[in-house]
Symmetry: C5
């Protein structure tokens, strides 16, 4: 009742169903052996499993700390992508003289801002190993799309197109040399954020650590019923299930958090952030933005938050 | 007596009233069963609850560490917003030639500085899911207000208006190209700070971890009286209440800290910081600032500090 | 003997005198009860106080970690203030053509550099809730002083005066547009450092955590003699005093570290750093700097280091 | 089964073969002595090895934390090198007018971009103590190669050549003063990343800590069989082997992670990253890039990930 | 055998000789009392010293973590100094037109680059409380040397001379306004790194923490033999020596790491880094660099690494 968001209980159990079935059968078996067949010699001192449990708790806490750091870094990178999308649009509108200028200049700003929307969606799919050119035609011209398909890394290609347009605008005198360099810096930051996401995506979390924790956890659960049976008798069964569920859940959480771009519901919400960027960029360009899409915005109350697990 | 600030004791207890009543009844029940009905077999080795307590202490310490980091990051972001509000005002007054310049230039500086005050108050309300346009008419023109209402994200709209004015000042030659880019950078920093606050607001802290800790805590408190009853007898009752209060309090604190924009007294003090920015900006503009508001300033002694819990 | 700096032993004990007297009397009382009145039933298993001690050690270690981070951040901010004071002076002397220039330019550089000295001393006093205008007349003109007194936050006012002078120098052509923006950036960094110090000053460390640790510590010390009496007899008295002193000392240290601007000997040495900045700025301006003040410099051997606690 | 990537089991065991053989023989010996020769007095309380195990777990967790930080910093530095390689190429193509310009300008961009590819490969070999000029003739001219061989530190030499070309382009008017400074900043970042890699390479992780942990670990394993023999009998042998394998594996992992440029399969993938940079730069220059090399790209599914250990 | 670098065993023991002699005598005395004089009542439960040992391990791990952070920050600062030395030289050679320019311009670049070499050596000695003007005449002119001796803080003086030369070059038109500001930024970074080193040098690590750990450690070692004697008999002597050596060694390491500029072999290698900077700067200036000095370079295989302890 203390918890702010209640996750459906069945959802949680579904995540560790296989483990739970095994643990239940195992603890029932131990209880049967102890009570019915009088294998009382199998009781071991409670100190062994509890101290083992302390060690595993510590290691899991450390590991979920590191996994959380990875996940938070991924989230921060996408937050920065949203910030720089807004900054780029504001810079275009501030630096290029759109309001009183020619139609051409306005079209230029829109082309670059739309390409930034495309970049966000494209990077989001690129990180999940999906086709990064999917639906890009909504935002960039057919020519750009063909151009960009020559690149293995689509977002890198899109950023080069942005650089080309920046040179073009500078040559036509629409922006001065300062403004060119300043917008180029925004592109450099976007390049850094792209590289940062790829770093997290492509770097596997040290596997030995996970194996070590997983093996210790199984050893702990195998020993646990023998340690509890003497004092708790049949009550040992729910205790073992409760304790091992906690450990399995937290281990799963750490494994999910450490890889935040794996196409799972607990991922970094790259699509939602891309849609927020789309909404804000469109509104800055005074383009019509359909009302029914609004609920997908960033600050929208509890209904839009997502669970970690 | 060692503590710097004494929080009213009843305030603390009020936070965990429900939990305390349950724990008191439970521990009294166990004592009654043990003493009056001679259920002495229910005593369990003290090692089980104490080691469980160690584990929970560790996990709570880790968790409150992470929650504290979130809360401190939110606080740091709002500190940066205050810094950049002051920096923006100083840049306007330094770069635009106000003192000896025309009335028009002075009005321009005031308009931008006041819009920054509006931005602070608006972001503060935006983060708490309150109406972000509330009372903005005190600081921005009616035209601006209508303009900004077209945006789902009001602070983004306000920053675009700032960008428009910046272009306007540059075109009139009131600021040079360097100064334009430099002020634009201050806007980029404000965009980053806005995005950072939204990131903290919209990212739910991993829920499994909290559930795991909460369940372990309840298990621990259920077992505790049985571990203590043998050695302490009736003294077990106050001991159980004291120990479980500590754990509940620290768990509550972590839950409060991890969401610093939830309209609670322990939030990041966004309204106070917005008022400090208002005061400093007004004094820099040499506008009259009512004396009675002064006590709300930043460095004002112990009376203005706020409790975490 | 392993320790680099020996703190006078009495100094340490003076800090926890009250606590020591209470603990001594309490442990003597327990020993008397056990030995003379044969209340041997009061002995409790050693496991309870020692495991409680482990938990408290962990929490104290975590807490002093966080407190140390605050204190180190405050120290780093003041280190940055020293750095930026030196940078500002070097920029003034490099950018404004002083050596071969008119007397007027030289006076300008001195005025700004002296105002930076004033800013340091003023911020130091502002953070300790002392009068921030004290002795400022040594460094700034009477007119500036009156001007600055209109501000609630004196350092903000001083930075605005610096901005005014920067505009003045630019209009006279003493610095070019690049140099103006570059010096303005130094002011922005100083604004950030000012805001960072105020953030640490005004944000109270979560109080629940401290209360929880303090209460657990008292519970631990109350139980400790009963755990030790069986094995150690009268030797329990010095053991209890030694162990509880350690815990009280480390708790005190954490409380002191977490608030580094409280006018105590363990504060961040803001006055010393301000004097170092004064010395370096004066020597850069080739002003005479009295020899007797030199020992207060930064790298001056062990005599100038300060104790924590 | 919970683990995302399954490492071949024999690969893991191969890493600690020597240690495993020793531990197996030792634990069998202890079991023989206990069971056959009735040296039952050699049993020691289980508390000693388990508490020792807790301590070692903690220290290993701390140490692998620090080792992981070093390894992650190295990975982040190489991510930044990839980002800045892309940024440099984009800046060259944006700032120098290549498309409609003379052949000469195009050749200039290619020369600088190719030299960046050479820089990446050269730094990769430099960090592994291999010949850093190996195959550089693929990317830089013979004259450059001779020039660069006068440097002890080849990447520093390459960066100076880049600086020379930058001056040359500026003198010919191909880039303006802003663009020169902006590209120079990219070189400064590359200098910082070079220096950061050398710092990690040349700074040995505190050795005492490792020795202390290793000695404690041996002490723990020597005592372990004596603690388990009483309760587990012959089952002690597999338990000792399982527990000591976990500890040895995690110790090995920490030792591998802390030195990420040692020519081992678990290194930071500097060659792969250099090839990704080569691919992206070539595609940005519209050079033909052989299809068969594509699978070495950054986001290429599970086949390209690498194990830690 | 797992360890990458083997430190001579006698070197390690030499560090804690006094402590080892005391501990040996003490544990022998306890064994004699127990075995020969049958003071068997002195045996205490093993739980007391082992749990105390757990606590101390935790605190030492925390403390050496913080000490390591200080030491690593110091190392990072000197890495940044090396980076900025290379960057400054590259900027001078890129921005000032040396190759085809007059002799005068070349002399100017050399003068500034040499002064940077002097700055490194001077800062290195300044931090160790040695004469910071020692051998500076190798790198700077007699006039500069006299000038700089008027400063209490020699590196600050050298940076002001650099600023003077920068103004001089700008006035003669050798660098443009952008380049002046960009090089000035390199000076600002060097100022920050100088200040960072002084901050670490002058801020004593909280002493109470060290005292608390040291006292707990002594208490632990005094109790240890009594806890082991019952189970191990005479074997207690080597065990006590082995365990206390580990703790003393790790305590010493933390104390050494926390003060990285104390003229000890485990310091941050400021002299080696200064020599690397000298070598690279000389090679960039195409000056002859004596071959026999080359082995002191940065990446030179295992012979140049240094031990921590």
């Amino acid at each position: 009742m203390l918890l702010k968001k209640n996750i459906p209980f069945t959802y949680i159990l579904g995540k560790i169903r296989k483990e739970l079935i095994f643990v239940s059968l195992y603890s029932i078996l131990v209880a049967l052996m102890y009570n019915n067949f009088h294998f009382t010699r199998i009781s071991i001192p409670i100190a062994i499993p509890t101290i083992l449990g302390t060690v595993i708790s510590l290691l899991l806490a450390f590991k979920s700390n590191q996994a959380y750091d990875r996940w938070w870094e991924a989230r921060t990178l996408w937050g920065a992508i949203l910030n720089d999308s807004r900054t780029l649009t504001r810079q275009l509108l501030t630096f290029v003289d759109v309001d009183y200028g020619s139609e051409e200049k306005r079209a230029f700003c829109e082309r670059m801002a739309h390409r930034q929307i495309a970049w966000n969606f494209s990077l989001s799919r690129h990180l999940r190993n999906q086709d990064p050119t999917y639906q890009l035609e909504k935002w960039i011209s057919e020519e750009d799309l063909q151009n960009v398909k020559n690149y293995t890394n689509i977002p890198v290609g899109l950023l080069e197109l942005q650089g080309n347009d920046l040179r073009y605008a500078y040559k036509l005198g629409w922006i001065n040399e300062f403004q060119q360099v300043e917008i180029d810096r925004t592109f450099s930051r976007l390049t850094d954020e792209l590289g940062g996401c790829e770093r997290i995506k492509n770097t596997v979390f040290p596997a030995t650590y996970s194996i070590y924790i997983h093996m210790s956890l199984i050893l702990f659960i195998l020993l646990l019923p023998f340690g509890l049976i003497e004092f708790f008798g049949v009550v040992e069964i729910p205790l073992v299930i409760a304790i091992s569920s906690s450990f399995f859940l937290i281990e799963k959480m750490a494994i999910h958090l450490q890889d935040p771009f794996e196409n799972m519901p607990t991922d970094t919400p790259t699509t939602t952030i891309s849609m927020t960027a789309e909404r804000d960029i469109k509104q800055m360009l005074k383009e019509s933005y359909k009302a029914e899409e609004k609920p997908q915005g960033t600050v929208q109350g509890p209904s839009k938050v997502f669970f970690i697990l």
